[in-house]
Symmetry: C2
C-alpha cells in the first residue's frame, strides 16, 4: 500500500521535507490533497482526516502528515526521519541515526523562523498587517540567525569523521535533503543575503549541489509533482525584507 501524504497544495512548505525523502527513496505515495475529490483527494479530505472523520487513529496537529494503515505520523522532521530510516536514507550506526533526528528537528526550527520573518505577530494575520514587525525580525534573521544556522551545518560537514561531505554518516540521508531544501528556500526568499553569505559555506552548498544532481531528485524537479516557491509558502520573497 502506498503512503498517503497530506499537505496543502500549491506550495512546497513543510510538506516538501517529507516529499523529498519519498522521491529520493523512490517510494510510491499519493499526495492526497492534490488529488481530485473524485479520487478521495482534495483539501476537504485532508481536513476531514484532521478532525478524525472516517478513521479511529490519532489526530495530527497540522499538515504535513503521513498515513499508512494504522500509522499516522505528523511533523515534517518526524516524517522525514521515519521515512529515511525505513527506506535507506538514514545512517545505520545508532549514534548517527539519533543525531540525524536532531538535525531534522533543527532544520524544522529554521523553517519556522524563516516563516516567522513574514509573520512575527502571528499566523492569523496577513503579512500586510505586520510589515513593520516583519522588517525588524527580518534584520535579525538575516544578520544573526542565518549565519548561525548555516555555520552549524557547515561545521557538521567539516567535522563528519566519514569525510563524506554529508551532515552525518557516510552517505546522503534525509538530513541532507532537508538542508538542500532549506538552502533553496533561503536563496528564493533572501537572494541578496544568500549571495553575500555563499562563500562562507562552501561545504553546505556543495552538498546541496550533490543532492540536486541525484537522478531521482532531478527527475522530481522536472516533474509536475514539484511545486515552486511562492508567496503563499514558508519561504517568501518580499524584496523589502532582503538585503546583502
Amino acid at each position: 500500500m502506498p503512503y498517503d501524504l497530506y499537505y496543502w497544495p500549491g506550495l512546497p512548505g513543510r510538506g516538501e521535507f517529507a516529499r523529498l525523502v519519498l522521491e529520493a527513496a523512490g517510494v510510491p505515495y499519493r499526495d492526497v490533497a492534490r488529488l481530485p475529490e473524485a479520487e478521495g483527494g482534495g483539501v476537504a479530505a485532508m481536513q476531514a482526516f484532521m478532525v478524525g472523520r472516517g478513521h479511529d487513529g490519532p489526530l495530527p496537529f497540522a499538515p504535513p502528515f503521513l498515513v499508512e494503515g494504522e500509522l499516522v505520523v505528523s511533523q515534517s522532521a518526524v516524517i522525514a526521519a521515519f521515512l529515511g530510516e525505513h527506506h535507506g536514507l538514514a545512517p545505520e550506526a545508532e549514534a548517527e541515526r539519533i543525531f540525524a533526528r536532531s538535525i531534522a528537528v533543527t532544520t524544522a526550527d529554521l523553517v519556522a523562523e524563516a516563516h516567522d520573518v513574514h509573520h512575527p505577530v502571528g499566523v492569523g494575520l496577513y503579512y500586510e498587517d505586520q510589515k513593520p514587525e516583519a522588517t525588524r525580525r527580518a534584520a535579525e534573521f538575516r544578520e544573526s540567525r542565518m549565519p548561525k544556522f548555516l555555520g552549524w551545518y557547515e561545521a557538521l560537514i567539516a567535522r563528519n569523521p566519514h569525510d563524506s561531505g554529508t551532515l552525518v554518516g557516510p552517505d546522503i540521508t534525509y538530513a541532507d535533503l532537508g538542508l538542500y531544501q532549506v538552502l533553496r528556500g533561503l536563496a528564493y526568499a533572501f537572494p541578496k543575503r544568500m549571495e553575500t553569505l555563499r562563500p562562507d559555506y562552501p561545504l553546505a552548498h556543495a552538498l546541496a549541489d550533490k543532492v540536486d544532481a541525484l537522478p531521482r531528485i532531478a527527475a522530481y524537479r522536472a516533474s509536475d509533482r514539484a511545486t515552486g516557491f511562492n508567496e503563499n509558502g514558508i519561504f517568501r520573497h518580499y524584496p523589502e525584507l532582503d538585503a546583502a
Copy 2:
C-alpha cells in the same frame, strides 16, 4: 556511565523536557552546566562542548543536549523520545511509538510559540525592546493558539483507544511528561487565560495531575534539582500579556 545533560542553569526551559524523563525513569544523570567548574561543570563547559572543544562528536545547535560516550542528542523532543524509548517511558507498539514522537515535536513547537510571545521580533533583543509587538502576538497566542494546542491534546486523550487517560498508548509516556510541563508553564505565564480555559480541557488537566503525583516526579519537585519558572525562561509571567 550516567548521562550528561547540558542546559542553561537557573531556568527550567527546554531542558526540563529532557530532565523530566530522566527523573521519571529514575535514570542517573549529571546536570553539567549546574555543576561546579572544579567538577568539569558550568556554562563554560557547555559552551566548550558546543564549539567542539575536547571532543570529536557532532555539535549540538543549542542546549539542551545529552551526551553519553559517542552519543550526542540535541533538541528537547528528540532527547525526550530517545530517553523515553530506552527507559520504559514510550509506547511499545510501533505506530504509537512513532506518534509519540510527533506529539513531542508538536509540544516543542508550542514551547517555541510561548517563547515568541515575549520575543516576537527576535531572540537578540530584550523583551523591553519589543513590547508593542509582544502585546499583539500575545493576543493571538491566548485567543487562537492556546485553545488550538490544548484542544488537540484533549482530543488525543479522548480518542486514545486504550482509554488510559494518556495521550498515546496504554501508559504514561514522555509525551505526557511534556504536556504536564507545558500546562504548568502556561499556568505560570498566563494564569488568567488558563483559568478561563481550564474547564474546556478536563482530560488534559487530569493527566497532568496524574503525572504530578508520580512518586519520582513528586520527589523531583521537592528536590533542589528542580528550578521554578522565572522571567529568564521560556514561560514568563508578564501580567500585561495575560488576559482572561
